[in-house]
C-alpha cells in the first residue's frame, strides 16, 4: 500500500496549480458562477478557457495523441480534475459531458472520420456537445425513448422531443439517442447520432432551473435531416453504446474537491466570526459539525481515488463509481445544509445581497446540489446498481 502520489505526480499538481493561478481570469472569479449558473458572459469566458486548456492538452488529456490528447496517466488526470474543481476553474459540466462522456464513446464506436473530426476538435476546446437522452416519458427508464429516426435516402429523418438537455442552446452538436426500430424489444431498437445543432427543424426552448438560470432545455425535432454518416457505431446498438458511455470514468473527484474547498472556507469563517462573544470556532457544535464534514469528505475523496487507482491497474470499476457518486452527492447536500446552519441567518442570503457571506455559495449550493444524485442516473438507480452488480443481489 502507498497512499502517496509519486514525486512526478506531485510536481504535476504544482504545475497545474501554478498555471491555474495565472490563467483563471479575474472576471470569472468576480462572477463566481456555481454549477448550472451560466450566463452569456460566464459562458464566453469558459469557452475561451476551454481553448487555453486545450492548448496545454489538459482539456482532454486522456485521449490518444493522434486525436489531440496527451495519453496522460489516470493518476495525473485525477489530480488535474481535482485541481480544476478545487480552484473553481471555468470548467463546468459541459466539459464533463463533452470530454468524458461523448468523446470516449466516439473513440470507441465511431468511424475514423468521426474520431478525427470530433475528438480532435473537442480536445482543442473548439467543440461542445449536449446530450439528448431524456424525454418526457423516458427518464431513468432511458430505454423507452420514443424520438424516431427513419432512413430516407442518404439521411435519417428525426422527429420527436427531448428534455432536460443541458447547454442545448449553447452547444455545437447533440449526442442523440433515438429509436430506429420501433418493433424490436425496447433495448434493441435504439441508435445514437451526432446532430449539428444548427440543422433546420431543431427548436430549443429554455427551461429555467431551480437557480433561476437557463442551463437546460426542451429540444424539438421536426423532420430534422441527419446524414447517415452521423450514425455512431451500429444501428440499433445504441442502448449498449449509451450504457458504456454512462459508465466511462466517473470518479466524482470534482465534487469531492468542490466540497473540500467550501469546507475549508467554512472553517475560515468559523475562525473569523464572533458569535455570543466568542469565535464560532470555539462552539463545540460547530467544531463537531465541521470535523464531521471533513471526515465525510475524506471518505468521498478516497472513494474517488479508488476509481482512478482501479483504472490505473487496468481494472474496470462499475458499481464502485455508483458508490462514489451516491456518497458525494448526498454529502454535497449535507455540506450545504450544515454550512447554512453554521452561517445562521446569513445562510439564506442570496448572491448579490449586500450582507451575503462566502458569496452566498452555500445557499446556491443548497439548490444546485439537488441536481447531483438525480441527473446522470439517480441515486436510487445507482443503489440498484451497487446492490445487483456489486453485491450480487437478485433482480427478481
Amino acid at each position: 500500500m502507498d497512499f502517496r502520489f509519486s514525486e512526478g505526480e506531485e510536481a504535476f499538481r504544482q504545475q497545474v496549480r501554478q498555471w491555474l493561478k495565472q490563467e483563471i481570469p479575474q472576471r470569472w472569479v468576480e462572477l463566481d458562477p456555481g454549477i448550472w449558473e451560466e450566463t452569456e458572459e460566464s459562458w464566453a469566458i469558459a469557452r475561451q478557457f476551454h481553448r487555453k486548456l486545450g492548448e496545454k492538452g489538459w482539456l482532454a488529456p486522456a485521449y490518444p495523441k493522434e486525436y489531440g490528447g496527451l495519453e496522460l496517466s489516470h493518476m495525473k488526470r485525477l489530480i488535474l480534475a481535482e485541481e480544476l474543481a478545487y480552484n473553481r476553474a471555468p470548467v463546468g459540466v459541459e466539459v464533463e459531458i463533452t470530454v468524458n462522456w461523448v468523446t470516449p464513446a466516439i473513440l470507441l464506436f465511431g468511424t475514423e472520420r468521426q474520431k478525427k473530426e470530433y475528438a480532435t476538435r473537442i480536445a482543442r476546446g473548439d467543440t461542445i456537445f449536449c446530450i439528448g437522452y431524456s424525454e418526457p416519458d423516458a427518464g431513468s427508464d432511458l430505454a423507452s425513448v420514443k424520438t424516431r429516426a427513419v432512413e430516407d435516402g442518404d439521411d435519417y429523418v428525426i422527429n420527436g422531443q427531448k428534455i432536460w438537455c443541458s447547454y442545448a442552446h449553447l452547444a455545437d452538436y447533440c449526442w442523440l439517442a433515438v429509436r430506429t426500430d420501433p418493433d424490436a424489444p425496447k433495448h434493441k431498437g435504439i441508435s445514437v447520432f451526432i446532430v449539428d445543432m444548427k440543422t433546420p427543424g431543431i427548436t430549443v426552448r429554455p427551461l429555467i432551473n431551480i437557480l433561476n438560470h437557463h442551463s437546460f432545455n426542451e429540444v424539438f425535432f421536426d423532420d430534422v435531416r441527419v446524414p447517415k454518416e452521423n450514425l455512431v457505431g451500429q444501428k440499433n446498438n445504441g442502448w449498449y453504446q449509451v450504457a458504456i458511455a454512462l459508465d466511462f470514468e466517473r470518479s466524482s473527484i470534482g465534487w469531492a474537491a468542490t466540497n473540500q474547498r467550501i469546507i475549508e472556507e467554512l472553517a475560515d469563517y468559523a475562525r473569523e466570526t464572533t458569535r455570543n462573544g466568542q469565535p464560532l470556532a470555539k462552539d463545540p457544535l460547530v467544531r463537531n459539525q465541521l470535523a464531521q464534514l471533513a471526515v465525510e469528505n475524506e471518505v468521498a475523496r478516497m472513494m474517488a481515488y479508488r476509481i482512478a487507482w482501479m483504472y490505473s491497474k487496468g481494472l474496470h470499476p462499475g458499481y464502485e463509481s455508483s458508490m462514489s457518486m451516491v456518497f458525494v452527492s448526498e454529502l454535497s447536500r449535507r455540506t450545504a445544509s450544515i454550512g447554512m446552519r453554521i452561517l445562521g441567518h446569513y445562510g439564506e442570503l442570496d448572491r448579490g445581497s449586500k450582507w451575503a457571506v462566502l458569496n452566498a455559495r452555500l445557499a446556491r449550493m443548497s439548490l444546485s446540489a439537488l441536481s447531483i444524485g438525480v441527473g446522470g442516473g439517480s441515486n436510487e438507480i445507482q443503489r440498484n446498481i451497487i446492490a445487483v452488480r456489486g453485491l450480487g443481489l437478485p433482480r427478481k
Binding site: 471533513a294 451516491v326 443481489l393
Partner: protein, 377 residues
C-alpha cells in the same frame, strides 16, 4: 499510489481467515463469551504457533519484524471472525509500550514470552472518569527507598483478569501540567494489593476494574523514563485506535457478507427479500459504509506503518468507522428480522462489539475534536 495489499499481506489475510474459521468457530466464540476468563489457552497456543503475537516485534525479540500494516491486516480478519480473548490487549496495549520504550533488558524479558504465548500483558490507563486524557490519571506511585508504592483505581482495563503483567500509568510527581508527571510501571498482576474484578459488559469484552492498594514494585519496573510516560501513552493510544478500527472494518465486512447472503436466500412473497429495493438499498449503504471505513482505516494504518504523522487520519478513521460499524450492524439486524433478535443468530455478537468499539479509545465526538484541531479550529 497503490491502494491494494501486497501479495504477502493477501496471503496473511487468507491464512488468518482460514485459521480462524477452523480454530475459532462461532461456537467457541460463544463459549468464551460465556466463560469466566474469556480466554482459551489452547487457541492462544495455536495462535502463537502462527507467529501472530510476535508479528510486529523485531526478530531479536522473538518476533517476525512485520509492519504495523501487516498487523492491521491480521486485526481486520480477527474482527471478521470476532476473535475473543486478549490478543488486542496483550500485543497492542501491552507489547507496544515495551517495544517503544522498554530497556534492552525489559524487551528481552517480555517480548519473546509475549511472542511465544507464555506471557500476557495489558495496559492499566483509564480511571473512573473513563477519559483518555492525562488529567484523568490519579493513581499515584510514590517513591520509597528504590521502590514505588502504588495506590489507585483503574477502570476499563481490558483482559486484566488473565494478564500476567499490568503496565500501569501512574502519577509520580506534582508537575504543573497533567502530562508531565506520569510514569509507566510494569506490575506483576499477582502482587499483593492488586485486586482485579471483571466488569459485566454487553459486549462480553473483559473490561476490568483494577485496584492498587499499597502495591510495591521495584524502581527497576519503570518502563521508559520516569515522568515522561505521556508521549508514549499517546503513541500507543493512537496505534491502538487504528488497530481497533482495523478490527471494526473486519467486523463490518462480516456483517455485510452475512446480511447479503441472508437476503439472497430468505424468501418472502415468493421471492428473495434481496430482490426488494428497500433491502437492496440498505445493502448498498452498508457496502458504502464498509468501503469508506476500509479506506480511512487503511490510510491511517499505512501512515502509522510508515512513521508519518497520522493523528488527524487516525481520528478521522475512528470517527467514521465507529459510527459506520454501528450503522452497518443496525441495518444488518433490520434485514434479518426477528431471527436477528435471538441469541442463536450471530448478528448480535457483532452488534455488541460495534457498540463497545465505538467508545473505546474515544468515541466519534472525541475524535472529531481532534479532527477539528487539525482543521485549525
Amino acid at each position: 499510489m497503490d491502494l491494494g495489499l501486497s501479495e504477502e499481506q493477501e496471503m496473511l489475510k487468507t491464512s488468518a481467515r482460514d485459521f480462524l474459521q477452523k480454530e475459532c468457530p462461532k461456537q467457541l466464540v460463544r463459549q468464551l463469551d460465556d466463560s469466566e476468563e474469556g480466554h482459551s489457552p489452547d487457541l492462544w497456543r495455536k495462535m502463537a504457533e502462527q507467529g501472530w503475537m510476535g508479528l510486529v516485534f523485531p526478530e531479536e525479540y522473538g518476533g517476525s519484524g512485520g509492519s504495523f500494516l501487516d498487523l492491521a491486516v491480521l486485526l481486520d480478519e480477527m474482527g471478521y471472525n470476532i476473535l475473543p480473548g486478549p490478543f488486542f490487549s496483550a500485543v497492542i496495549l501491552g507489547g507496544l509500550p515495551i517495544a517503544l520504550t522498554g530497556s534492552e533488558e525489559q524487551k528481552m524479558e517480555f517480548l519473546p514470552r509475549l511472542a511465544d504465548g507464555t506471557t500476557l500483558l495489558t495496559l492499566a490507563l483509564t480511571e473512573p472518569t473513563a477519559g483518555y486524557d492525562a488529567a484523568s490519571v490519579r493513581t499515584e506511585a510514590t517513591a520509597r527507598n528504590g521502590e514505588y508504592v502504588i495506590n489507585g483505581t483503574k477502570l476499563f482495563v481490558p483482559n486484566a483478569n488473565v494478564a500476567d503483567y499490568l503496565i500501569c500509568v501512574a502519577r509520580t510527581g506534582k508537575g504543573d501540567q497533567a502530562e508531565s508527571s506520569l510514569t509507566l510501571l510494569i506490575i506483576d498482576a499477582r502482587s499483593p494489593g492488586v485486586r482485579i474484578t471483571p466488569l459485566k459488559t454487553i459486549a462480553r469484552d473483559r473490561q476490568c476494574e483494577v485496584v492498587f492498594d499499597n502495591v510495591v514494585v521495584s524502581e527497576k519496573n519503570i518502563l521508559g523514563r520516569p515522568n515522561e510516560a505521556w508521549p508514549i501513552v499517546e503513541e500507543v493510544l493512537q496505534k491502538a485506535t487504528v488497530a481497533k478500527c482495523a478490527e471494526m472494518v473486519g467486523g463490518a465486512q462480516a456483517v455485510l457478507d452475512m446480511t447479503v447472503n441472508y437476503a439472497r436466500e430468505r424468501i418472502q412473497f415468493d421471492r428473495p427479500i434481496g430482490s426488494f429495493q428497500a433491502i437492496q438499498h440498505y445493502c448498498a449503504d452498508m457496502a458504502s459504509d464498509v468501503i469508506g471505513s476500509r479506506f480511512l482505516t487503511y490510510k491511517a494504518a499505512w501512515k502509522t506503518s510508515e512513521g508519518l504523522p497520522a493523528a488527524a487520519d487516525v481520528a478521522m478513521a475512528k470517527a467514521w468507522t465507529g459510527e459506520a460499524y454501528e450503522r452497518v450492524t443496525l441495518l444488518g439486524h433490520q434485514i434479518l428480522g426477528a431471527i436477528g433478535f435471538t441469541m442463536d443468530h450471530d448478528m448480535h455478537l457483532y452488534y455488541r462489539r460495534a457498540k463497545a468499539g465505538q467508545t473505546i479509545f474515544g468515541d466519534a465526538d472525541f475524535q472529531r475534536g481532534i479532527v477539528a484541531r487539525g482543521q485549525g479550529l
